[in-house]
């Protein structure tokens, strides 16, 4: 019993450390990447290539005073940043990084990650409502309607993959795709000929789920000042910021596991955790690239995209896959 408890504690500590390290250094990577796209140097003063920038930023944020606005709802205001970060860290627990590296493998891994991911919308709602700031309330209402409408196509697409692989266990889904890139779910198979489209839908949805540009309507700094975290300073803001990057890692990991074969090597050689990391970082680089290229969509454009295009296509895909699975 005590051994299991120890295991759980070690797993959680590793998950937190991995999430925090990733969040901190993805901020650095994003800033350097944006700088490359915009032909400027980016952070390059502190340490080699500016690598000391994230810890220094962290120290700066932690030493600042946490201000709670007079009219704010104190409890919601304090709970929201924690709620943004905690589910993201919890999601790391079920993700299998390779055959042997997984904090705790669950038979319902897909379901658990989606359950935790949907808590992120609550954090934004609490932050916006608790701040009692008109901009924040507008931003949180936007973000929640966005998250709700993008979870639906994302879930339907995930169900399609689960049906093809016959399991909700993330490890089993990865193992089922082993043996070279043509076994990966992204490529069309007899049972699910529309898989590449599913992948694109899933990718767009994970962009929208993490509130990233071009779907960053919850922040929309040119309209709503800073969106739902307008009133946050200090580590309250820091946790939102880290939560966003942790969610990006979760989104990329989930995409990798569901569509890109997890830790499988494209050429059937040396499968292992390095392939998994390579794939998620390529996906994250794409996230960054998209953010610094596209302008923001409108809220109605965003909702129309989900309800009129993504949901019908993913539903059709689900029905087609179900029918084909019955036939073959």
């Amino acid at each position: 019993m005590s051994l299991t408890l120890l295991n759980v504690i070690v797993a959680v500590v590793i998950a937190i450390a991995f999430a925090a390290a990733n969040a901190a250094y993805l901020v650095w990577a994003e800033r350097r990447g944006a700088a490359r796209i915009q032909r400027r140097p980016g952070p390059n003063i502190n340490g080699p290539f500016g690598l000391l920038q994230p810890p220094l930023d962290g120290i700066k944020l932690m030493t600042k005073q946490l201000m709670i606005p007079g009219g704010a709802d104190k409890i919601l205001f304090m709970v929201a940043p924690v709620l943004a970060m905690a589910p993201a860290i919890m999601s790391f627990v079920t993700i299998p990084f390779s055959e042997g590296i997984a904090a705790h493998n669950m038979e319902i891994g897909v379901l658990m990650i989606f359950a935790f991911a949907s808590m992120g919308a609550m954090a934004i709602l609490f932050a916006g409502w608790g701040s009692r700031n008109k901009y924040s309330v507008m931003a949180s209402v936007r973000a929640v309607s966005q998250n709700v409408s993008y979870e639906i196509p994302m879930l339907i697409t995930a169900i399609t993959v689960v049906m093809v692989n016959g399991s909700m266990d993330l490890k089993a889904i990865s193992t089922a795709q082993a043996g070279g890139f043509w076994h990966w779910n992204i490529f069309p198979s007899l049972q699910s000929p529309l898989m590449p489209i599913s992948f694109i839908i899933f990718f767009i949805c994970s962009l929208a789920e993490t509130n990233r540009a071009p779907f960053d309507l919850g922040e929309a700094e040119s309209e709503l000042v800073a969106g739902f975290h307008t009133e946050y300073g200090s580590m309250g803001f820091g946790l939102f910021f880290m939560g966003e990057y942790a969610n990006i890692v979760i989104g990329a990991s989930l995409t990798t596991i569901l569509f890109l074969g997890g830790w499988d090597c494209p050429f059937g050689m040396f499968p292992g955790v390095w392939w998994f990391l390579l794939k998620i970082y390529i996906l994250i680089a794409t996230f960054i690239w998209i953010r610094w290229t596209f302008p923001r969509t409108t809220i109605y454009g965003l909702l129309n995209l989900s309800w009129k295009i993504l949901i019908p296509i993913s539903l059709f895909n689900l029905l087609l896959t179900a029918g084909l699975l019955k036939v073959f």
């Binding site: 915009q38 009692r132 901009y135 929309a220 596209f294």
Partner: protein, 372 residues
């Protein structure tokens, strides 16, 4: 403090956009009555950066007032000083050498391109795309370097004098300007590919924020805002001044009346300005840059004088009422964004806030120029 707030479902709320808000690009305040994300009514509040430039014009001599004009619009300052010197020269009957007028036209057009470039970057940033701003600023940097070399300033130029110029241009300037034109044309193609062709960008502008020609006339809107609504009016063509009649250039006019039309007008204007600069450099005559016969202390004859010029933002007019003294009896500035801005209140009614702020971006507001 946190007493429960009672709201009826049909209740509206007041949203204070500004005076410090990222979208207003300065200290403009817009009081918006909102119904959710829809604007019911909006009211522009000016005056946060009022500096009494008109009154200063009445207290100072005409030459002392010259630097004030470049403090109106910090992005396209040369156009405003151009208007002032033209008004004084016409009233006092000072003959300006041809070379000076050519150099004025070239520098004003360079300044116009710089202003439009900055607008382009800031506008796309309003829509959430950051990278084009950096590209635009880099191109603008070349212009600022050129202008700094001849005028001595980077933003608030005081380059023109009554009867000529402060400084002649050298070969370095003409060479740099000649090198700049093809580079800028390449950049414009790149912007078209990166921004104009972007599907999200088009969706956010096409058919959004229609401003009819009638509304433009009602509020006295000029410049790219009016030309995006199908009004073919440009002071350089309609009331020619300086050496503009000698150049071959077009006035881009779009009839769609939407945000995209205003965007396209400005993008096309950059190309037309490049054409003017190209021809100006080709035709640039030799000779003096300063009028020979020019009174030391300028006194205008008794009368009422008006001069309009086309600046980057629209038609800028300066009206001087003189009682024969060495400073003006009354000086009135007609600044284009002041008129353009007042469209906003009527046009944004019933619009979503994000479309309204994108529409505000297409008006190309420079707040110090509006408030004076």
């Amino acid at each position: 403090m946190s007493a429960p707030i009672q709201l009826r479902p049909d209740e509206t709320f007041i949203l204070n956009v500004g005076p410090q808000h990222p979208a207003t690009h300065g200290v403009l305040r817009v009081k918006m009555q909102m119904d959710g994300e829809y604007i019911v009514k909006s009211e522009t509040v000016l005056g946060y950066i009022h500096r009494m430039h008109e009154k200063m014009g009445e207290n100072r001599t005409y030459a002392q007032y010259l630097p004030n004009l470049s403090r109106l619009d910090y992005l396209g300052a040369l156009g405003y000083t151009h208007g002032h010197v033209l008004a004084i020269e016409r009233a006092a009957g000072i003959e300006v050498p041809e070379r000076a007028e050519y150099i004025r036209a070239i520098t004003v057009e360079l300044n116009r391109v710089a202003s439009h470039l900055f607008w382009f970057g800031a506008f796309v940033m309003d829509l959430g795309g950051f990278s084009p701003l950096m590209y635009a600023i880099q191109d603008r940097e070349h212009i600022l370097d050129m202008l700094e070399a001849v005028t001595g300033a980077r933003l608030t130029y005081c380059y023109y004098r009554f009867g000529g110029l402060y400084n002649d241009v050298d070969d370095d300037f003409t060479e740099a300007a000649k090198r700049f034109i093809p580079r800028m044309r390449k950049s414009l193609k790149k912007y078209d590919a990166l921004v104009t062709g972007n599907i999200i960008f088009q969706k956010r502008l096409e058919g959004i924020a229609p401003v009819s020609a009638e509304m433009c006339r009602k509020y006295g809107a000029t410049g790219p805002v009016a030309r995006g609504s199908g009004i073919n009016f440009d002071v350089r063509k309609n009331e020619p001044y300086s050496v503009y009649p000698e150049f071959d250039f077009d006035i881009p006019v779009y009839h769609e009346c939407d945000s995209m039309a205003r965007y396209k007008v400005r993008m096309d204007e950059m190309e037309q300005s490049l054409r003017i600069i190209e021809q100006g450099l080709e035709k640039l005559p030799g000779g003096p840059i300063m009028a020979e016969k020019k009174p030391k202390n300028i006194k205008l004859p008794v009368g009422d004088f008006y001069q309009a010029v086309e600046t980057a933002r629209g038609s800028f007019g300066i009206r001087i009422v003189s009682d024969g003294d060495k400073n003006a009896y009354r000086l009135k500035l007609r600044s284009p964004t002041y008129s353009n801005m007042h469209l906003f209140d009527e046009a944004c009614e019933g619009m979503l806030i994000m479309d309204a702020l994108a529409f505000m971006g297409t008006l190309d507001l420079v707040i110090p120029e509006m408030d004076r």
